[in-house]
Symmetry: C2
């Protein structure tokens, strides 16, 4: 294990689920000597103070002493927030973010850099369906991947990039460097499409004129409830994600609608062989996800624990 | 609370997740004096004996003494199994099933009834993504709904129907009577469509030529992993469900593809207002599901528990 202390002082802008979890994890693991937080919402600042998860909450945002500034604001606000904070950062400091879309952020911020300040995009693949400072917790990043997207200006091998990597490792993450455009395609597949699918399903189910909302709620344990968790995620953040990762989302969504239409045709024609073939391919990937430590093996995500003392 | 003992002897045909869970629940709660099980697969019979969850495992299926026979076989085999067991059932006994599609089963079995034997379709809205006798557990039905679908022949108010209701209540379920065709539309919405969506997503994600399977696995915690649980469900059972509930599935799937296409258009046109409106509707239904006791309130289904001793 390397030394946990990576930065002297860090500033986290945005006190939501991710920002407040970073603060908690930094304190628990000693990854920085001093953590300052800022949120443009005064009530969030008050809450951050009450939670006592950082050393100082700054209502007027400045970054004179921060060695690392992390933008933990919704994707739509990242470029604008970067523009405001960059002139106040000290020479040699690092700017990063935690947004779910990377290419447009790298493109918008890199031209603004000067004075030896670097920017590397970051995306911890972790979260819950909840939002706000109270939703965060220190172990959110443990064993989850964090993707860093260096630019042509700031390469993976640079000391700044390696230091940012050590920081995320100190919070418990595994770190991977990736091209920003490729990141956006991978996440469109593993994150953005699943969320859009879930949002759409909740819409379809609650708009049925022949099935009541009460019935949808009562009989949700048959599958539907799983989708409502993802569809309960922060609407503003997800609006921004889809607006900012348009091309990749339209690509994977188009493919998905094709695949769904093929399954619809198989149902219509009573083509049981095709259905069985498609349904059989899928268990293997779940096993791989569990083996990779990215999900729990317990049935129903452990929501249905057998009673104590039961042998089977 | 009523007397837990409801039937003297029951026969469960099929020793998978549901059948073996019924046996365990009956024993734990004393809902029948004697439980006999049968499975056409000899290795399942051996396993049922080893698990010791019923009084007798019958390799040659007969039902001379059973007051209730439950068909816990995949949907495609229910009508055929009913045909075989009905002539062996004693006068006045009740036949039921646990399949996810009801109209076709009621239609196929009711004309076969004679000798005071009744049939009422049953569907416990409970399960996990696992299969087989080892996957079952006694609390599977606790606080879950069980839908019973009486026919014109055997009405809800009949003593047989009320007795079957008491049986499921004794296993911990809440019971609702419903018209079989309406059941199939409700479940197409809350169960069959979600499963088809999940199976299709796993197919789309693993068929991307620009994103590797390794990347899909590594970054699955961003949403994709949730879908792989549902898509790991028994492929044979689900093939049967879609073949047997064709009309309702095509109806809701068609609506869903329309809704998804509308969201795709909103993404293409950068229509953030529409996206935000759709994404904002969905948190309310999750809250209702949690209030109704049909899901846990913990973030990430409780997969990310905060460490012990952590205050936030």
């Amino acid at each position: 294990m390397s030394e946990p202390l990576v930065y002297d002082e860090i500033l986290i802008i945005g006190g939501g689920l991710i920002g407040s979890s970073i603060a908690r994890a930094v304190r628990e693991r000693g990854a920085a000597r001093r953590v300052v937080m800022h949120d443009r919402d005064k009530s969030v600042c008050d809450r951050l103070r009450a939670l006592d998860i950082c050393d100082h909450v700054d209502e007027v945002c400045g970054a004179p002493n921060a060695d690392l500034v992390i933008l933990a604001v919704p994707p739509g606000g990242i470029a604008q927030t970067a523009k405001q904070i960059l002139p106040q950062m000290k020479p040699g400091a690092m700017l990063s973010d935690v947004g779910s879309v990377k290419a447009n952020v790298v493109e918008a911020i890199v031209p603004l850099l000067s004075g030896g300040i670097d920017f590397i995009g970051g995306h911890p693949i972790a979260g819950t369906e909840q939002s706000g400072p109270d939703a965060g917790f220190a172990s959110l990043f443990t064993d989850r991947w964090c993707i860093l997207t260096p630019s042509a200006r700031t390469k993976e091998a640079s000391p700044g990039a390696q230091k940012l990597k050590r920081f995320w490792q100190a919070l418990g993450s595994r770190v991977e460097f990736m091209d920003a455009a490729h990141h956006d395609l991978v996440l469109a597949t593993t994150s953005h499409l699943p969320h859009l699918i879930a949002y759409a399903l909740v819409g379809t189910a609650t708009d049925m004129e022949t099935v009541t909302k009460g019935e949808v709620v009562k009989y949700s344990a048959a599958g539907f409830r799983d989708f409502t968790r993802i569809a309960a995620s922060d609407p503003v953040m997800w609006r921004d994600v889809f607006l900012q990762n348009k091309d990749a989302v339209i690509d994977v969504l188009g493919r998905y609608i094709e695949d769904l239409t093929a399954l619809k045709k198989a149902v219509r024609w009573g083509d049981g062989d095709t259905l069985l073939k498609e349904f059989t391919k899928t268990r293997a990937i779940r096993d791989k996800i569990i083996d990779a430590g990215q999900d729990v093996a317990e049935p129903n995500f452990g929501r249905n624990p057998p009673e104590e003392g039961e042998s089977n």
